[in-house]
C-alpha cells in the first residue's frame, strides 16, 4: 500500500483549482492566485479539469445552490474549501490537497454520490406537466449508469433545479422554444408528447442570422463561475454559431461589499500604488482572456509584488509595460473591439498600463476613472460580437464590475 499511497500523493501534489467568487472575495482570491502561481497549482477553466473547488468570499442568494451543483460536476477525487478574509488560505488549500490523497474520504464521497443518484433515479416524473413548465432554471444530469432509453424515458436521470445558469453544462434551456413533434412519442410515459425533446432537452430553434442564413439559436449563460471573469456576473447570451444575438446581464454578488473589500485589501498601500494594483489586477484578467499566459503571469507577479511591497517593483512594471505595449499581435487582436467611451480594447489596456506606470513612478493618481455603470452598458456592447470579443469587452469593464474602481480614500 505504501507504493500506491505514494503515487497517489505524487499525482495530487499540485491539484487543479477552480475558484468561485462570491461577495467580498477580493482578498481570498488574491491570496489563492498568488499561492497558485508560487506553488505551480494550475487554475482551470471548468469543473471537468478541477480537483479542488475553492469558494472565495460569501455566497448569497442563488449562489450556494449553484455552487452545490457545480460541485457535482467535479469528477473526483475532489475537495472543497471555503476561504474568507485573507488568513488561512494556505492552510486550507494544503488541507484540501491532503483530502484528495485520502482514499477513505474519496471512497465515502463516491458512495454518497451514487446513493443520492439512486434515490433520485426513482423519482416519479409522471405527474409533471413539462409542457407548461418553465424550464429555464433546470439542468439535468445523467445518473451514473446511462439508460439506453434515456431519450424516451426519464427515469434514470436526476433533475436538479438550478436557480442560476451554468456556463459549463451548456444545457440551459431558458429562451428555447419547444417545437411540437410531428409524431407523438409512444414511449413517453408522462406528458411530453407535445415536444421533441431528446433526453428531455428542447431542440435548438433556428432563426435568420446576420448573413441571411438560417442558423441554430442557442441560449448560453456565461458566469457566475468562469475563470478570469468579474465576481458574480452572469451574462445570459443568445448565440448563433458563436455570435451574440441577445444578452441579459445580472450580478449575483453585492458589488458595494466588494468595493469595501477592495478598500480593505488596499488599506496599507499608498493611494497611487493602490490605483496601480487594481489596474494590474484588471490587466491580469484581460491578458488571460486574450490568451497570453506569459504576460498574464508576469502581470500577476508585478501585482503581487506591489501588494506586498517587495522587490524592485518599478523595474518589473516597466518591463511588463514594454512587453505588452510592444506586442503587435495583441494590438491587432484587440484594435477595433469596441468598449465604452472612445476606447477600444487596445486603448484600454494601454491606458491601464500607462496609468499604473505613472502612479508607481511619480505617485500621481490617474486623472480618469473607468465608467461606473458598466453593468448597464454591457448588453448593448456585447450584441453582434463573437464570444472571444465579448469576453474581451467584459474584461475591459472589470474595474467597475468587480468594485475595484475605488477612488483612493485621500481623494474622496
Amino acid at each position: 500500500m505504501g507504493l500506491t499511497d505514494g503515487l497517489r500523493r505524487f499525482a495530487t501534489a499540485r491539484p487543479h483549482l477552480l475558484v468561485v467568487e462570491g461577495t467580498a472575495s477580493v482578498r481570498p482570491r488574491l491570496a489563492v492566485e498568488r499561492f497558485a502561481r508560487e506553488q505551480g497549482w494550475p487554475l482551470v477553466d471548468g469543473p471537468a479539469d478541477a480537483d479542488i473547488l475553492v469558494v472565495a468570499g460569501r455566497l448569497e442568494g442563488p449562489l450556494p445552490e449553484y455552487v452545490d451543483r457545480l460541485w457535482e460536476q467535479l469528477p473526483g477525487p475532489r475537495a472543497r474549501v471555503h476561504l474568507r478574509g485573507d488568513d488561512g488560505s494556505t492552510r486550507a488549500l494544503l488541507g484540501a490537497r491532503r483530502i484528495l490523497a485520502d482514499i477513505g474520504y474519496q471512497r465515502a464521497d463516491i458512495r454518497r454520490t451514487t446513493r443520492r443518484d439512486a434515490d433520485m433515479g426513482g423519482m416519479d416524473m409522471g405527474g409533471m406537466d413539462m409542457g407548461g413548465m418553465d424550464m429555464s432554471g433546470m439542468t439535468m444530469e445523467p445518473a451514473d449508469t446511462p439508460d439506453p432509453h434515456a431519450g424516451r424515458d426519464m427515469s434514470g436521470m436526476t433533475m436538479e433545479p438550478a436557480d442560476t445558469p451554468d456556463p459549463h453544462a451548456g444545457h440551459d434551456m431558458s429562451g428555447m422554444t419547444m417545437e411540437p413533434a410531428d409524431t407523438p412519442d409512444p414511449h413517453a410515459g408522462h406528458d411530453m408528447s407535445g415536444m421533441d425533446m431528446p433526453a428531455g432537452l428542447a431542440m435548438a430553434e433556428r432563426a435568420p442570422d446576420r448573413d441571411g442564413l438560417k442558423l441554430d439559436v442557442l441560449t448560453v449563460p456565461w458566469g457566475p463561475v468562469l475563470t478570469w471573469w468579474p465576481a458574480g456576473l452572469v451574462v445570459t447570451t443568445v448565440l448563433q454559431g458563436d455570435v451574440v444575438q441577445e444578452a441579459r446581464v445580472e450580478q449575483l454578488v453585492d458589488v458595494d461589499a466588494n468595493r469595501a473589500e477592495w478598500r480593505e485589501a488596499l488599506a496599507d498601500l499608498e493611494p497611487a500604488v493602490a490605483a496601480a494594483v487594481v489596474r494590474l489586477d484588471a490587466l491580469v484578467r484581460l491578458l488571460a482572456v486574450a490568451g497570453w499566459d506569459g504576460a498574464r503571469l508576469q502581470s500577476q507577479q508585478v501585482r503581487d509584488a506591489l501588494l506586498s511591497s517587495t522587490g524592485d517593483v518599478a523595474v518589473q512594471l516597466h518591463r511588463l509595460s514594454r512587453k505588452v505595449l510592444r506586442s503587435r499581435t495583441l494590438r491587432q487582436m484587440t484594435t477595433g473591439v469596441r468598449t465604452t467611451r472612445e476606447e477600444d480594447v487596445a486603448a484600454r489596456y494601454r491606458r491601464w498600463l500607462d496609468e499604473a506606470v505613472v502612479a508607481v513612478d511619480s505617485g500621481n493618481l490617474p486623472a480618469t476613472a473607468d465608467e461606473p455603470h458598466a453593468v448597464h452598458l454591457l448588453p448593448a456592447l456585447l450584441i453582434g460580437s463573437d464570444v472571444a470579443a465579448a469576453r474581451l469587452i467584459v474584461a475591459t469593464l472589470e474595474l467597475a464590475l468587480s468594485g475595484a474602481d475605488v477612488r483612493p480614500v485621500a481623494s474622496v
Binding site: 508560487e38 471548468g46 469528477p75 436521470m157 451548456g170 490568451g291 506586442s327
Partner: protein, 315 residues
C-alpha cells in the same frame, strides 16, 4: 505511383517499428510537455527544478486517477472517437517520417499522407467539441474549423514546395536532395509558414482558440481523466510529429558533421519542438477570424511566390 488516399508501400513495413511508433511519439510528446512545464515555471517566476520538470509525469498520473465524466446526453461514440483520433492521427503522421534513411512505413507519397492525416484533425476536434453536447465545446469546434480554413491551404502549398526541391513526395528523397544547401535557406518563407501551420493544427499556444479559456476550455471543456489525457497527449504528439517532419523537409534530414545521422536528426527535431512549444509563451491568442485575413492575404500569396521561386531555381 501517386494515388491519393492509398498508401503505396515501397518497402516492407517494419513491424517492430510500427509497434514502437506510439511509444516514440509519446516519448517526444512528454519531451514537449516537459519543455512547456519549464517555460510555465519561468513565466510564473518559479525556479526551474526537477520537481517542476516531472510535472508532465505527475499530470499523467493525476489524469489516470481522475474519474471519467460524462455530460447529459452526449454523442458518446463520436466524442470518444474524436478524442482518440487526435492521438492516433499523430502516430500515423510520424509513421511516414524518415528515421535514419527510412520511415517506419516507407512511402513514395509520404508528404501527401502526412497532409491527409493532419486533415483528420478537422473531424477529430469538431467531434470532440460536438460530442460532449455542450455549448462551449461546440464553440471550440467551430473555432477549429474556422482556423483550418486559414492555415490549411498555405500548409498544403508549403508541403508541395518542399516536394518540388526533391522532385518527389517521398520525405526520404526530399531529405537526400538537400546536399550542400538545406531547403530552409532556399525557402525560408515556406519554413516559417510550416511552423505557423504546425502550431495551428496542434491547436497550441497562439492558435489554441479552439481550447481556450475564454470559451471555458472549448473542445477540452468537458473532458476529464483518461479521455483528457489522450487528447492532451495527442496535442503534444502533433507538435512532436510536425517537428520531426520539418527535419527531412527543410533541415537536411540527418546531415551534419561528426555525429551520426540519427543523432543529428533527433537534435534538430528537439530544437524545432522547443521553438514550437515556446510559441505559447511568446504570443497572445490569435483569433481565427483575424488570422484568416492574414492567412489569405499575406501567407497564401507569399507561399505561392515561394513555390514559384523554388520551381524556377530547381528547374
Amino acid at each position: 505511383m501517386l494515388t491519393f488516399g492509398l498508401l503505396p508501400v515501397s518497402d516492407q513495413v517494419s513491424v517492430v517499428g510500427a509497434l514502437l511508433l506510439p511509444v516514440l511519439l509519446a516519448g517526444l510528446a512528454v519531451v514537449a510537455a516537459v519543455a512547456s512545464t519549464g517555460f510555465a515555471a519561468v513565466a510564473a517566476g518559479r525556479r526551474v527544478t526537477t520537481i517542476e520538470l516531472v510535472g508532465p509525469l505527475r499530470e499523467g498520473l493525476r489524469l489516470l486517477l481522475v474519474r471519467r465524466r460524462t455530460t447529459l446526453h452526449p454523442d458518446a461514440l463520436l466524442w470518444r472517437i474524436g478524442g482518440a483520433t487526435v492521438f492516433v492521427s499523430a502516430v500515423l503522421a510520424l509513421a511516414v517520417v524518415p528515421i535514419g534513411d527510412r520511415a517506419v512505413v516507407p512511402s513514395a507519397v509520404g508528404i501527401v499522407w502526412f497532409n491527409a492525416v493532419e486533415a483528420l484533425l478537422w473531424a477529430a476536434l469538431w467531434l470532440t467539441g460536438w460530442g460532449a453536447n455542450s455549448a462551449t465545446g461546440l464553440v471550440g469546434g467551430y473555432r477549429f474549423l474556422a482556423l483550418s480554413l486559414a492555415y490549411e491551404l498555405p500548409f498544403m502549398l508549403v508541403l508541395i514546395t518542399a516536394g518540388i526541391r526533391g522532385a518527389s513526395l517521398d520525405p526520404v528523397v526530399v531529405a537526400q536532395s538537400q546536399t550542400g544547401l538545406w531547403s530552409v535557406v532556399l525557402m525560408p518563407v515556406a519554413f516559417v509558414v510550416y511552423l505557423v501551420s504546425a502550431v495551428a493544427f496542434s491547436f497550441w499556444g497562439p492558435f489554441s482558440q479552439p481550447a481556450a479559456g475564454d470559451a471555458a476550455g472549448g473542445v477540452l471543456a468537458e473532458l476529464s481523466g483518461v479521455d483528457r489525457l489522450v487528447v492532451v497527449l495527442g496535442r503534444y504528439g502533433w507538435l512532436a510529429a510536425s517537428a520531426a517532419m520539418s527535419v527531412p523537409l527543410f533541415l537536411g534530414g540527418g546531415s551534419g558533421p561528426v555525429l551520426p545521422d540519427l543523432a543529428w536528426q533527433l537534435f534538430k527535431t528537439l530544437v524545432v519542438l522547443l521553438a514550437l512549444v515556446a510559441a505559447r509563451w511568446r504570443w497572445p491568442l490569435v483569433r481565427a477570424e483575424r488570422f484568416a485575413e492574414i492567412a489569405w492575404l499575406v501567407l497564401l500569396p507569399a507561399v505561392l511566390l515561394q513555390a514559384l521561386v523554388v520551381a524556377v531555381i530547381v528547374l
